[in-house]
């Protein structure tokens, strides 16, 4: 079986796995439009000050429309993070069995990455379409790209948490709390520190900056995307490294080199015993 077949088999079956995650499918279908619609109707349309870090310009988008962007980022990061976490967590031992049976891990990793990219692209397009029901972002393609980058980043977190954490609830909690803090702290509607310096270190800062800039202005956004892509690369690299480590054959002993200790209960190795001289009485033919 050649590389293309190995990659295509892993990608196809990874997709099957995602598509059979009914909760995730239901969340995509219901949660995204609900969140975006509620944000539009529940929040006031009074302008809120939002500082673009790249230019220093302060925009004043309507509060409800800005909250729609923040809500879309929140919904997408939660869903994609959950999907990747669930797939990685539930199939962790299965992936290891596959790898030990000879499936090249690089193909399994590429399949995960492909699934993450396509799922993220699909939900980003969907969320953009729902947003367009209420208002039209000025640069639609870049708006979708901003949502895509946020989803990709949290997909990386999902793979990382799924490979690292031992209990399902831990991973779910980690994703929910990270996303809520991340997006909540950047929303000037309910955070007085949204335009402060600290928020620029949050994982979705680049995506929210880019989404707002391309939604309401003609401001240049490459630095926002670069910042978000850097977060994505860090998250996905960490996630894939942990996945690679958890699926490898024969983990080495925890301590190596001069720090390595003999475990308690294991006897000290004995030096080889020299062979005893042959007993003439036992020789064949001896009486």
């Amino acid at each position: 079986m050649n590389h293309a077949e190995l990659y295509l088999t892993a990608t196809r079956l990874t997709f099957v796995e995602h598509l059979r995650n009914r909760l995730a499918m239901a969340l995509i279908a219901v949660f995204i439009p609900t969140w975006i619609s509620l944000a539009y109707f529940v929040f006031e349309n009074r302008p809120v000050p939002f500082r673009l870090q790249a230019t220093g310009e302060v925009l004043h988008p309507p509060g409800n429309e800005f909250t729609q962007i923040a809500g879309a980022v929140n919904a997408l990061t939660l869903i994609v993070g959950f999907m990747m976490f669930a797939a990685t967590f539930t199939s962790g031992t299965f992936d290891r069995r596959l790898a030990m049976a000879g499936y090249p891990r690089v193909h399994l990793l590429l399949a995960k990455l492909t699934a993450l990219t396509l799922v993220s692209a699909a939900v980003a397009v969907y969320a953009t379409a729902v947003t367009c029901v209420f208002w039209s972002p000025r640069r639609l393609l870049l708006f979708t790209a901003a949502l895509l980058c946020a989803s990709l980043t949290y997909g990386g977190f999902g793979i990382l948490f799924g490979s690292l954490l031992r209990r399902e609830v831990e991973g779910m909690f980690a994703i929910v709390m990270t996303s809520c803090l991340d997006v909540g702290l950047q929303n000037p509607v309910h955070s007085s520190g949204a335009n402060g310096d600290l928020v620029q270190y949050l994982p979705c800062y680049g995506a929210l900056q880019a989404g707002t800039a391309v939604g309401f202005s003609a401001a240049s956004v490459p630095t926002c995307f670069a910042r978000q892509l850097a977060w994505f690369l860090c998250a996905i690299t960490a996630g894939l490294m942990v996945f690679r480590r958890s699926t490898r054959r024969l983990p080495p002993p925890s301590r190596t080199g001069f720090l390595r200790r003999r475990p308690r209960g294991v006897p000290r190795p004995t030096p080889p015993v020299p062979a005893a001289p042959p007993d003439p009485a036992a020789a064949p033919g001896a009486d």
């Binding site: 079986m1 099957v16 024969l250 080495p252 475990p263 209960g265």
Partner: protein, 206 residues
């Protein structure tokens, strides 16, 4: 090592301060059926994980005379995929040209009619049949089986032993780990894992 399919020498392992294996030596020649029994917590699964390269022993060496198949004690399957999709995945993993051998095993175990079923809807015994099929489908020379017949009905249990006997006739070696020595008379050798060491036992009907 000669023609041996498995050669284990002086394997030690401990979990923290608690030693589990204190110097395991074991050799499997082609065409042998070997059983290892022991009480709960005796270290049977630890030993099999070491033999299956899932765990590195803290001391000792394991050498193989060919490719092995490993059926873990716990089901290692993907609930979202069907039986057929599992076979496709592992066909690619093992680099097999077709699924003929896998289908023969499925026939013997009575799994064929579940090909299109998703694993999440299968019974425990049927899942175990798939778990076992995945270990056997590449026709390994050495089989490492950890409690392989858990959940099997009587008929499947009998078929399992028929299949093990056929494998033995074809020169394959099978190592079965179990907590009870059922069907000891079917084995060529029976070892008792106790105190971290393997002790020989004479196979006799219980």
């Amino acid at each position: 090592m000669g023609q041996d399919l498995l050669n284990v020498s002086d394997v030690h392992h401990a979990y923290g301060p608690r030693p589990v294996l204190r110097g395991i030596d074991l050799t499997l020649r082609p065409g042998t059926l070997v059983g290892i029994v022991g009480e709960n917590g005796a270290g049977k699964t630890t030993l099999l994980k070491i033999l299956a390269e899932e765990l590195r022993p803290q001391r000792g060496r394991v050498r193989y005379g060919g490719r092995f198949g490993y059926c873990p004690q716990h089901l290692v399957l993907n609930d979202a995929l069907t039986v057929r999709q599992h076979l496709e995945y592992f066909r690619a993993a093992f680099g097999l040209g077709d699924l003929d051998h896998a289908e023969e095993i499925m026939d013997v175990l009575g799994l064929t009619s579940y090909s299109r079923e998703r694993v999440s809807v299968l019974s425990g015994g049927t899942k175990q049949k798939l778990n076992l099929t995945l270990a056997l489908m590449h026709d390994p020379v050495l089989l490492l089986l950890d409690e392989p017949y858990q959940g099997f009905d009587w008929e499947t249990y009998q078929r399992f032993w028929d299949m093990a006997a056929r494998l033995r006739r074809r020169g394959r070696s099978v190592l079965i780990v179990s907590h009870l020595a059922y069907d000891a008379e079917r084995l060529d050798e029976l070892r008792h894992l106790d105190g971290g060491l393997l002790h020989p036992e004479t196979p006799a009907p219980l």
